[in-house]
């Protein structure tokens, strides 16, 4: 594995270095999978004459491992807030030259303010998209077991009396310790970003009581499982659950999926564009950031991926089913209850990982 990676990296860097010498007309983007409107890249290539090498990942951890190994050769990456916050300490990002961004004013100032908790003064990032972690549920299956009630509550996955009734139709929860634990801590009534052992224990207790009712902890399986009816409740990313919803509609098997932001409050996350310090083509990266900041580009992305973009100029251009969907663009009252997750210290991460493994394995 190590060698394979080292070889791949060295081959990549040789190739990329070759390109850099040839011209600055190349841009190496590393973004989340299924996270852009495909035409957006080809339009950028046509407008600027820059050739884009577009590569994708499916977890922050994979991105971080590549960046921390050094010499990744990427010009533009899109880590989530808490990850960027910690990676900044390693000095792996260069500052963004805001004078080169003509469309910067399009950004939603209120959201940018929240992001500065991750990156003081937002010197190293420009937000790409944002979303929430919430509840995806199979409307008919859940109604049949719980009767008529409001389903916008974390009781669906954290209250033992409720989960016992849902066990037979399947509950899936993200296998993401930091994110799920902060939501559990918040549900238990303590600071979601607290690193004290006592608060971690309170969060863990919430999960231990219901763990036996969960079908699995997994960060991707719930998309197809919700759509197929293999699970009926999932704690997951809003865009993923909306994707499950549209898949279920296409399949026409009568599975009706809905997304709810829990009223107890949940996690808001931001994916941020950043330029690695050793990026071979920072000029081209700035051009792409400015291109994404355009209202039309941002709206195209949001309409395609079903995640929200922090872009005021995009709002009039959004499709009706996107802008009016409270799962994508929640009301200000709901937004006020959302909290961002801070980067943890290494000591707490170790403690959290161990607690998480113990919860998962029932030790």
């Amino acid at each position: 594995m190590t060698i394979k990676k080292a070889l791949t990296l060295s081959v990549c860097s040789v190739l990329l270095a070759g390109n850099a010498v040839a011209s600055d007309k190349v841009l190496n983007i590393y973004n989340w999978s299924d996270y852009i409107e495909p035409e957006a890249v080809s339009r950028f290539e046509k407008e600027t004459g820059i050739k884009v090498n577009y590569d994708v990942y499916d977890s922050n951890e994979v991105l971080e491992a590549k960046l921390m190994a050094g010499g990744s050769g990427y010009d533009l990456v899109v880590p989530t807030g808490a990850f960027l916050e910690r990676q900044l300490q390693a000095g792996i990002y260069s500052k963004i030259d805001k004078s080169k961004l003509t469309n910067l004013a399009n950004l939603d100032a209120a959201l940018v303010e929240k992001i500065s908790k991750h990156d003081e003064g937002n010197l190293h990032n420009v937000p790409y998209a944002w979303g929430t972690i919430g509840l995806g549920y199979n409307v008919d299956a859940v109604k049949a077991r719980l009767g008529d009630m409001e389903f916008d509550t974390l009781d669906l996955i954290f209250n033992p009396e409720v989960t016992a009734k849902l066990k037979d139709c399947g509950i899936g929860v993200l296998d993401s310790p930091a994110e799920v634990m902060s939501i559990a801590q918040n549900y238990a009534g303590v600071d979601p970003n607290s690193e004290s052992k006592a608060d971690l224990k309170k969060g863990a207790e919430v999960l231990e009581k219901v763990r036996g009712d969960y079908k699995y902890f997994h960060s991707g399986k719930y998309i197809s499982d919700l759509a197929n009816g293999d699970v009926c409740v999932a704690l997951g990313y809003n865009g993923d659950i909306l994707q499950a919803q549209s898949r279920a509609e296409e399949a026409g098997q009568g599975v009706n999926i809905s997304y709810a932001i829990p009223k107890e409050g949940t996690l808001i996350w931001f994916d941020l564009m950043a330029i690695p310090a050793d990026a071979p083509h920072p000029e081209a990266a700035h051009k792409f950031i400015d291109y994404v900041l355009k209202g039309e580009t941002a709206a195209g992305i949001s309409n395609y991926v079903y995640y929200a973009v922090p872009n005021k100029a995009a709002e009039p251009l959004l499709n009706e089913d996107v802008i009016s969907n409270p799962g994508i663009y929640p009301s200000d009252a709901v937004k006020a209850k959302l909290f961002a997750q801070k980067a943890h210290t290494a000591r707490f991460d170790r403690l959290l990982t161990r607690t998480w493994v113990n919860i998962k394995t029932g030790r």
């Binding site: 060698i3 699995y216 290494a346």
Partner: protein, 317 residues
């Protein structure tokens, strides 16, 4: 290279004689033999040294994310070598790692046993069939490799899941009322490992059984041995090199298996591959992850060397 490459080596009579390397070494043979050693050096030894080196450092928020063990400053003329054993000590102190190793070994041992159980009849049939039939059976064993391993595991997910093929069939036949829960269980992990590694067991068994002299069985029968007696007294001992080779080929990768338990296993399947992943990606502790890997290698290599040693002695007798 100097011409004084002279060494003492044993000649064919076991007497120590002086040899001149340049005149005596068979270069054609040397170049052929050196290929596997070169391969091992580049793809096993060097990476292992790198991993071992990382395991002696400490995690840091930096690029790369660990402290250097060798530090020097030419102006102030100092070189420091800092080796940290804390990762290994932590491995010993915390019984979590021990139980992860043990449960991996348990899963691997059980799956190896069942792989052997399934593979033996297949290999036996292959060894006893003739000509084109044998070629066909051999092709059938190798055929699954033509499809991606990941796809085949996904196919098992389709078979084993709650409304999958097996459950649907059993329900429609009226054999069960409730779907059996097979996915996300240890059972599914065993199925996945046995299925995936089956060819690695069948092929060495086949090559051992193929060489067996069938007249030995006839002789045993003539002398009054019952079939099970001749199996345990003749067939099994003769197949033993194949059994050992096959078991090692299955057991070793199964201990470190990550993909199969991740896809088919439940959240409570604790295996060392997962622990490694967590150390590396969640704790971002490359040195600790490296230490876990080094210890795993030691746990695996020692018994194998013991087995090889005992085999060598048998050969000498």
């Amino acid at each position: 290279m100097s011409t004084s490459k002279i060494a003492w080596i044993n000649d064919s009579y076991g007497k120590m004689t002086k040899y001149n390397f340049f005149s005596r070494v068979n270069w054609g043979r040397f170049s052929v033999v050196s290929v596997p050693y070169l391969w091992l050096a580049i793809f096993f030894f060097i990476p292992f040294v790198v991993v071992f080196k990382i395991s002696l450092s400490e995690a840091a928020i930096a690029v790369p994310p660990y402290t250097p063990i060798l530090d020097w400053n030419l102006e102030e003329a100092y070189v420091t070598l800092k080796l940290s054993l804390s990762n290994y000590l932590f491995l010993l102190e915390d019984d979590f790692y021990l139980s992860a190793y043990l449960s991996s070994i348990k899963v691997a041992a059980i799956s190896t046993f069942f792989t052997l159980l399934v593979a033996f009849p297949i290999a036996y049939l292959m060894a006893r069939s003739e000509g084109s039939m044998r070629a066909l059976l051999l092709a059938l064993v190798i055929l699954p490799f033509w499809t991606s391993f990941l796809l085949r595991v996904y196919a098992w997910m389709g078979l084993l899941k709650k409304n999958g093929l097996i459950n649907e069939t059993l329900m429609s036949m009226g054999l069960i009322d409730q779907p059996l829960i097979m996915m996300q269980t240890d059972f599914a992990v065993y199925i996945g490992i046995v299925y995936t590694y089956l060819p690695f067991m069948v092929l060495p068994l086949y090559s051992a059984l193929e060489k067996m002299d069938m007249t030995l069985l006839e002789a045993a029968e003539d002398l009054g041995a019952r079939p099970y007696q001749s199996f345990f007294l003749i067939t099994l001992p003769l197949a033993m090199p194949g059994v050992i080779a096959g078991c090692l080929l299955v057991f070793i990768p199964a201990v470190g298996e990550f993909v199969i338990p991740a896809l088919l296993g439940g959240s409570d399947t604790l295996m060392i591959g997962r622990v490694l992943w967590d150390e590396f990606f969640l704790n971002r502790d490359w040195p600790m992850a490296s230490a876990v890997a080094v210890v795993m290698l030691i746990i695996l290599v020692l018994p194998i060397m013991l087995i090889r040693n005992s085999q060598g002695k048998e050969g000498a007798v």
